[in-house]
Symmetry: C2
Amino acid sequence: MIERRDVFQAIADPTRRAILTLIAIQAMTPNALAEHFDTSRQAVSKHIRILTECELVQQEHSGREIYYSFNPTKLKEVDAWLDQFRQLWEKRFDQLDKVLKQLKTKPHGK
Amino acid sequence: MIERRDVFQAIADPTRRAILTLIAIQAMTPNALAEHFDTSRQAVSKHIRILTECELVQQEHSGREIYYSFNPTKLKEVDAWLDQFRQLWEKRFDQLDKVLKQLKTKPHGK
DNA sequence: ATATATTGCAACCAAATAGTTTCAAATTAA
DNA sequence: TTAATTTGAAACTATTTGGTTGCAATATAT
């Protein structure tokens, strides 16, 4: 097992995905975030740490509070990876579309 | 830690992502796949098992060989999850676009 | 019929992961 | 100044993960 800390690994955890969804709506403090989960504040903090290391979140200090917000740029990496496969599922749709068109032109078979 | 075996966890591993890329081009046997990695055939087999459980790959038997191929439909789940964030990085682009347009209309500042 | 090839599965192991509790640092409130 | 709040980090633990080797099952080749 080799040390990995990339975006794919970061979004593998459902809690981290939920954190991203929450802070994408508005920046939040660790305390506020933790209230949404059935886990300790420290555990949430560790998730935030991982998300920060992947540059998926940004922080802004305000007194003793830290507001974490979502940084979408790194998620584009995932989108870019999906690109190579996108044609494949669109092709399937095209083929279905072709079949449906044929059914229209020859409504009762031949 | 709760039992997880979803698409996000499946694509978290770089070897599994590479397997998907390979079989997206053409169906392959575990033996053929293993040649592309610095790991044992059995380890590759375990990765394939996980990908199969997530319905990311399909198999077709041919004598004693098994050809694994890519099933794109489940990857759409990842694409769907990205959708909620897509606006955010497109908005950034729009803002940059706006700035560039302003530079064009007022080429030498004011 | 016997040997070879291809594969999945079980048992085992080291490392990583996600969680906990405890504690120290820094900021705000009393 | 002193107490309370907010936070991250350290130490520890149980579980998961990705890897290994060995083996049994099946299909093909000799």
